[in-house]
């Protein structure tokens, strides 16, 4: 780490500059010197230094003023104020102005070492923090929304446009198309990204449970409410609430939800205190909400309140060109999570995937690839590793001999090439099976 840290020494005394420079160079730091504040600021115009050691008393601009100017340029810079004439006033002022430390010359070598080590540790923590933040943002980014098709590009563009606003969004699409991923992408690209994204699966909860889940409850509100509990709207304060399967909520909950969306305030179940929360609402459904409005099962006013922006995710069958990219993405994802070597997919298997309907959309494809990696040979995903593979293989058999060969091979594999057990299963004697193995040149694979 030491070699990456750069230090600027600002002192009008040459002997101090030389001594410090010599000391820090021996520690492996990159060191530059300036004899006055003007030269230091000039150097700082050209490049950044991790640590700046500045003397207070210098001809022209003093170290305190220089410190203020450095902080105005870069709030994160670490400035250590040095002085041979320490006073409480200057020390307090320096620290108020944001100095990392205030030290009196001459220093004890051990104190100086610790000081620089602490500063270096802070720099390291800061850069680590930035890297982790970037990583988290990237992870939550549009990472899993893979595709280059026109349909998915349109969705990505919509996400980008809508993320910066606080408007309500309804995401529609068939099951497994990635509605929650889109919601996450909107949240992680919005200014609310450092606050929580709270997901509620409305379809999985009964009316009373959903009410308690969304609004929270006070102790004793109902049987089993043994303590106060925050609701999801309260938890989402500053962030986003994602209501999945919004079409499943009851008429009563629709009224309650409409009121919360209008006032951004609510009362916990069993409580009487009004709670306000600043959240953004993103909903998702695989049903046609407009038809539900027309037939009276979904409130029109709630629909228009939620449907400020509508993002429709196309089903996978309408973006077949994305399948190879998605397959590669899932192979990479699961090989990495299973700590396996990266594998490929045979062209025949990919071709079958491209012609498959995928009623379960991307989720179904993902599950297929995960399963194929688990049961496959660890080198390549074969057609037989896919659920539709056996059917495809069988349907491609034309001759009776070929069918017999494959069936015998499957039985042999099933019984671990135990000829006696395989012959019994096939209801033939062992000699017949040996003859068939010889005839079809069947060999046990490694």
């Amino acid at each position: 780490m030491a070699e990456k840290i750069s230090i600027l020494i600002v002192d009008d005394e040459e002997s101090v500059r030389d001594s410090l420079q010599n000391w820090f160079v021996e520690d492996g730091y990159h060191v530059e010197c300036a004899e006055n504040a003007k030269k230091a600021l000039h150097l700082l115009d050209d490049r950044e230094f991790d640590i700046i050691l500045a003397d207070i008393k210098m001809p022209g601009m003093d170290g305190m003023e220089m410190h203020r100017r450095i902080k105005a340029l870069n709030r994160d810079s670490i400035v250590i104020i040095m002085t041979a004439f320490a006073s409480v006033d200057t020390a307090v002022q320096a620290l108020k102005d944001g100095a990392f430390d205030y030290v009196t010359k001459p220093f004890d070598p051990d104190d100086l070492s610790h000081l620089i080590r602490n500063a270096a540790a802070q720099i390291s923590l800061r850069s680590e923090n930035e890297a982790l933040r970037r990583r988290v943002t990237t992870l939550e980014d549009i990472d899993d929304l893979i595709g280059q098709s026109e349909a998915i590009s349109k969705v990505l563009k919509q996400i980008e446009n809508v993320a910066q606003s606080s408007s309500s969004v309804i995401i529609t699409g068939e099951s497994g198309t990635g509605k929650e991923l889109v919601a996450r992408a909107i949240h992680s690209n919005s200014s609310r990204r450092y606050f929580p994204l709270i997901s509620v699966h409305c379809g999985a909860l009964t009316e009373s449970l959903l009410e308690s889940e969304l609004f929270g409850h006070e102790k004793g509100a109902f049987t089993g409410a043994t303590f106060n509990r925050k609701g999801r709207f309260e938890m989402a304060d500053g962030g986003t609430i994602f209501l999945d399967e919004i079409a499943t909520i009851s008429p009563k909950m629709q009224v309650e939800l409409l009121r919360v969306l209008e006032t951004k305030s609510f009362v916990r179940v069993g409580g009487n205190r009004e709670i306000t929360s600043d959240f953004r609402v993103i909903c998702a459904t695989n049903r046609d909400l407009l038809s539900m409005v027309k037939n009276g099962t979904f409130r029109e006013d709630l629909y228009y309140r939620l449907n400020v922006v509508n993002i429709t995710i196309p089903p996978l069958r309408e973006r077949v060109e994305d399948i190879p990219l998605l397959v590669n993405h899932f192979i990479k994802k699961y090989c990495t999570s299973m700590s396996r070597d990266m594998i490929t997919i045979e062209p025949a298997a990919l071709k079958h995937l491209e012609h498959f309907e995928f009623p379960g959309n991307v989720r179904e494809l993902e599950n297929m690839i995960e399963r194929a990696i688990v049961i496959g040979n660890g080198k390549e995903i074969k057609l037989r590793d896919l659920p539709m593979g056996k059917e495809a293989i069988n349907s491609s058999v034309e001759s009776l001999d070929e069918l017999e060969k494959r069936h015998i091979e499957q039985i042999l594999v099933k019984y671990g090439w135990n000829v006696s057990r395989s012959a019994k299963a096939l209801k033939v004697d062992r000699v017949t099976l040996y003859n068939k193995i010889r005839k079809y040149d069947l060999k046990q694979k490694e």
Partner: protein, 179 residues
Amino acid sequence: MKEKKIILLSCGPFEKEFLGKIALATGTEFNRAVIAEECYLDLAPFYSPGRRQYDGNKLLHHLPECTGREYDKLIGLFKVDIFIPILTFIFGQAVLGEQTAIASVYRLRNELYGMKQDNDLLLSRSIKEVVHELGHTFGLIHCHVSTCVMRSSTYVEDIDQKSSSLCLRCRTLLEEGQK
């Protein structure tokens, strides 16, 4: 080819045996001939009355004038307390990759810290300090390996924790630097 040698300049009343042992250990570590040479240096011009110590920077710059011999590296060993303007004291001083270094045994003595005199410990600390400062003249920076002689030591117990030898990495860097 001219022999590469290190001169260990005795800038104080040191016993010959003491200097000889330091020279031997240093020579072994750097694989060079080390010549111990006495020097009669008037330290008065280097004294800082305000600090009641001797200016290490000035001593370092003056040291080459104290020998008439040719050398590859030169280290002056002092008995007085030395400082550099920014630090309260130093055990030694060198300029990275240059020819000259200084070291002082003043703060290596047990007696300074109220403990019983220990000549063996003083010798061991002095060897480590001389090897450390000479390491800097060969371009070696401070090392993070706890037993390496190039580990930074800001108080005397630090010196006792490390060995008098270079770690494998520093030795490799030393050998690469000499090619």
